[in-house]
Amino acid sequence: MSRRVDALVELAAPMLLVVAVGLLSTTASPSNQVYFLNALVSVAIVVAIYVFVGNSGVISFGQISFVAIGAFAAGVMTVPLDSKKNVLSTLFPLLRDHTIGDVPSLLLAAGLGGLFAFAVGLPLMRLTGLAAGIATFAVLEITNNILREWTSIGPGATTLSLVPESTGPRQGTIGALVVIAVAFAYQRSRLGRQLRASREDSAAARGVGVRVHQQRLWAFTLSGALAGFAGALLVHQLGSITTDQVFLDLTFLTLLMLVFGGMTSLWGAVVGALAISGLDSFLSQAEEGVHIGFRLDLPTGSRFVCLGTIMAVVLILKPSGLTGGREFRLPRSWRRR
């Protein structure tokens, strides 16, 4: 019984946090709402990365390529037909002459992300350590290069605009909740537990019959699908996007969020994403002057210095992250025996 309660709490805590952010965003002024939506989309992206990196312990710089694929697939397919023929005239006829709805575009993005991740993971999942890191980084570079140059599948080096801005408080919250629920279901499943065992001790896991290569491939594929889905949420939030917005900076920032919160737990991924995007939003407000009991007015440009200092100090003092890489638990006295 107690175990089931613990599991319920593990899932409920990150979900409640996301719902709280979603509710707050409805009360915020339109100009401030963007910060809350950013935070919700960041949660989706970071949890998607966590599904592979957190559960396998193998670092990957490549997950943002699936975010990019999802973002551009969902974006290109939802630009209204009448303007599409003008602004995206170089597309393949099939892509140019069809437009799909919002939810189908999210599903398409998830499907494509998963498909690409499977194709890439099939050879790459044999690698570990730094070789895996650099190989997945190469995937990111290749994806970016192709998306930027091939104008038959997307806008190329120009900005993709006129995408319906459908990721409001509702879609942002539901999207983040879906990603969290899938990640939770995976990590408690047989497959997830086998992969987590291989993270702790690869040799021992092999010894009891875990097929490490295969387990990593499943996680990589699932992570790719969730990343594609998160990319679709992102493009529907921004309304317009360039290939550079889903490239190196986002890769480094989301990995920092994951490690900042605690790389080995779902709770850590959610807390890290919310903490850093919250901090960043607060600091950017503070650059323009903000009242928190007293008037805080940071000099221009100091926002990133503060953010960098906080990230560095927390990681140095607590390398296992804010949550210590553990799932959420109620304090002992609260828990039923």
Binding site: E149, G301, V305, M311
Partner: protein, 302 residues
């Protein structure tokens, strides 16, 4: 590729870039050897050196360069004390991501310092006379190419002597081979690590001096992309041993040098994809590194 454009000038420039990247590879490889830490913030050391050169541009050249070395080495040692030491023994992923945060922080600080005069970017022109070509046996070579090759070769020979012929070098090699056993037989961990970090700082300063000749315009992301490219080269070459890492750095510098200047730009749009596909192929076939041959190499790790 049209062979006609592959002139001697192109090749010598590519060798020059390869020499600089080889030095950066040594700087990254030295620290990795003793700490098992990939220092992503290495490029920001070079950036700090370049800014020092820009801000001291009105000084006599020698003083400017000495200041650059002092600043970079101090920053490098500070990084060890404040960042690397508390992180010792953490998982490689955590260490790497922490150096992302450090790189982000240093870049943010550089932006603020740079923006004091209202515009982004500073010029470090004091050594730009080295960018002029001289004529050797009828072909033009830029002086900086010769200087880079000379400095890189000199630094590598000195480093090899230091590691092979001195006690602290022996300790460093021992620590790189097996840190725990080395400590058991009396190697002082902190001294060895500081030695490696000190050397890698010296190298970063030398790289800063040579890079500002090629690119006198210094911005906060100076040397950032170079660091990424060198990291790719180091892992492809084989990061476990210093000489394979160096060779990897040189190779990727030489290849990108040839590619950038020898190919017309309208034919190179998909070239990054081809290059990175090759990187993946090499990693799949030789995950320990392209140049990591057989058993004999496995004995020497620095």
């Amino acid at each position: 590729m049209t062979l006609a454009t592959l002139t001697f000038q192109t090749l010598s420039d590519a060798v020059g870039l390869g020499a600089i990247y080889a030095l950066m590879a040594v700087g990254i490889g030295l620290v990795f050897g003793v700490l098992r830490l990939v220092n992503f913030a290495y490029g920001q050391l070079v950036m700090a050196g370049a800014y020092t050169l820009a801000f001291t541009a009105s000084w006599p050249i020698a003083w400017s360069i000495v200041t650059c070395f002092a600043v970079v080495v101090a920053l490098s040692l500070a990084m060890d004390l404040v960042v690397f030491r508390p992180l010792r023994g953490q998982s490689p992923a955590v260490m790497l991501v922490t150096t992302f945060a450090i790189a982000f922080l240093l870049q943010a600080i550089a932006t603020i310092v740079d923006l004091r005069n209202g515009q982004l970017g500073e010029v470090a022109p004091s050594l730009s006379s080295l960018a002029q070509p001289i004529t050797v046996w009828g072909v033009d070579i830029r002086k900086i190419t010769l200087v880079s090759i000379g400095v890189a070769a000199g630094a590598l020979i000195l480093l090899a002597l230091l590691l092979m012929r001195t006690t602290i070098g022996l300790h460093t090699r021992a620590a790189a081979a097996d840190f725990r056993t080395a400590r058991l037989v009396g190697v002082r961990a902190n001294r060895v690590i500081m030695f490696a970090v000190f050397l890698s700082g010296l190298i970063a300063a030398a790289v800063a001096v040579m890079m500002t000749v090629q690119l006198p315009f210094v911005t906060p992301d100076f040397a950032l992309y170079d660091t990424i490219v060198v990291l790719v080269g180091v892992v492809v070459g084989g990061i476990d041993r210093l000489w394979t890492a160096t060779l990897g750095g040189f190779t990727i510098g030489f290849v990108s040098g040839v590619i950038n200047s020898a190919l017309p730009t309208d034919k190179t749009v998909y070239l990054p994809s081809v290059v990175f596909a090759l990187v993946i192929l090499v990693l799949l076939l030789r995950p320990a590194g392209l140049f990591a041959w057989g058993k004999r190499a496995a004995v020497e790790r620095v």
